[in-house]
Amino acid sequence: MSTMQSPQTLAEKVWNAHVVRHGEGEGEARQPDLIYIDLHLLHEVTSPQAFEGLRLAGRKLRRPDLTIATEDHNTPTLDIDKPIADLTSRTQIFTLRDNCKEFGVRLHSLGDKEQGIVHVVGPQLGLTQPGMTVVCGDSHTSTHGAFGALAFGIGTSEVEHVMATQALSLKPFKTMSINVEGTLKPGVTAKDIILAVIAKIGTGGGQGYVLEYRGSAIRALSMDARMTICNMSIEAGARAGMIAPDETTFEYVKGRPHAPEGDDWDAAVDYWKSLQSDEGARFDNEVFLNADELEPFVTWGTNPGQGVSLSSNVPVPEDFEDENDRKACERALTYMGLTGGTPMKEIRVDTVFLGSCTNSRMEDLRAAAEIVKGREKDPQIRMIVVPGSARVRLEAEAEGLDKIFKDFGAEWRFAGCSMCLGMNPDQLAEGERCASTSNRNFEGRQGKGGRTHLVSPLVAAATAIRGTLASPSDIANTPVSA
């Protein structure tokens, strides 16, 4: 990123507004900039060693008032009023509680109305706002970029660094524009856009870049949908994803607990409106996608780039020119227990997981509920619905969505990361196949030997009805009771 005044991208504007000190030198030899961090999110898994580091060095937490913690990765989604059965999970959560108490960090614990997945909690409290820098020891911090924030995941050493200094030494990122023009067909969602982007540029295609999602199809999306897209930027290898703030963004933020008020609100909106990539701003790379042509997308393999349209077939290794890709395909087919050439829609699924920081917000739950309402679940299918936060759970219950899911035969759980990464008891068994609205289909991600197909909430819901991977149009003729 340049520091020139003339046309700038959104990412450059946010970066430049946070430079505490410019790195010296030019080009490759340039030292990192020191970048100020507006919001630091913590959870139990990547913070204990950072707190310990502070303690050992006798350092203070510089800005407790720009720091917030929640319990999410390890927390059970059943019997949350009982002691956590897994002793190592319990220790990790108690360690977070002790650390937050010692260092004066606001913590939303299991059972609290604001507890939930860290990337659902920040936005819903109004703590995530346009133009901010947001970090967390979690790669899906990219989610917050949906607000026009520069938000990215960091490792535990950097967590400790931010705790001690509220800043990070960073080399400027390159910028890539992802243009999605057109109108999505019914049944096609933000999840399908991002899975298609990843399949197009690959799991390493975004490496070193901040992606900016632009175009009419992006502008038409709600905040929940924009968060789904930015969330999976990391799956394309990118550090962050961003969407320029607009009226949809301001409308979402307004009135939330930590949104600016009165004169501050007006000053904030004035500033936020300037957070657009300027006419003529130069991106280091550009990608174009036609929204009109997109179909529901689903992964067949063991990385998020191994995806195809739901209406097509499982690929065969010979489909790939590159030898590494061919080998990766062979290995993935073996792990996934699939034969090349099989229609995706004939793949029989055991479990449907609706949840994760990718797809566990109100809009996701509403969309899935609308499909399953009054319909019958395939009797072989186990379906788990895990709201992204305790607040989402309460809102969903106020709308009666819990009843719709329970009547359908799905399990209605408490909030957390749950089966996305199986750090709590919600795991797949060996060989079990799952249609999952989460973000990673890596080997063993959802449980040792588990097989994951990444899907949208609509595909998840339709799959739970048909028992095989399915889109809403495939179940249009199934009976609906009143």
Binding site: Q129, T141, T165, T203, Y271, N303
Partner: protein, 201 residues
């Protein structure tokens, strides 16, 4: 952090692309609250297979991992770097690293050396044909050497300097504390604070 200028050790060829952090260390091992003792967790899923390369002599004594492209994709877990280090790896060679993994390596003194895939293919052959061959990673010269193969590698200047000097990042940044304080004084009033806590109720 310990200084690293060169390292020589047995090379381990791992012919696979997209080795994600869930493979390097499965999530179940992330529940620990210590910073050391992760050697048992490294590639825990794959190590259950007795034919996995780290279960075979002499690769089990390796300290330079030579992997396919897009190494370290996925999660931000620094535990992946801790596990590699605790097992005994000092360097990883790949044609392309995930950004966060590379950053984490630099913080922990693990050298992430970016080498062209064509050179990696040659190194793989050498290590497979002559098991136990040592690989030298030279940060000063920015080269990796394996048998008669000498290949250049990419690493950014700042990370290289910090690795060679063994510098602690937080200490470096705290020298600029006055700049941080003056930046804080100029932040707009509308920026949110987490405290005092506000909620929707």
């Amino acid at each position: 952090m310990e200084k690293v200028v060169t390292h020589t050790g047995i090379g381990v060829p791992l012919r696979q692309s997209n080795i994600d952090t869930d493979q390097i260390i499965p999530a179940v091992y992330l529940k620990r609250i210590t910073r050391t003792g992760f050697e048992d967790a490294l590639f825990a899923g794959w190590r259950r297979d007795e034919n996995f390369i780290l279960n075979t002599e002499p690769y089990n004594k390796g300290s330079v991992l030579v992997a396919g492209p897009d190494f370290g994709t996925g999660s931000s877990r620094e535990h992946a770097v801790w596990a590699l280090k605790d097992y005994g790896f000092k360097a990883v060679i790949s044609a392309r690293f995930a950004d966060i993994f590379r950053g984490n390596s630099g913080k922990q003194g693990l050298v992430a050396a970016e080498v062209a895939q064509s050179d990696i293919e040659l190194i793989w052959k050498e290590l497979e044909n002559n098991p136990g061959t040592e690989v030298t990673v030279n940060l000063d010269a920015r080269t990796v050497q394996c048998g008669s193969i000498v290949a250049p590698f990419q690493i950014d200047d700042y990370t290289r300097w910090r690795l060679m000097e063994g510098l602690d990042d937080i200490g470096l940044t705290l020298k600029q504390e006055a700049d941080i304080t003056s930046f804080e004084a100029s932040r707009p009033a509308f920026k949110p604070q987490t405290l005092p806590a506000r909620t929707a109720d």
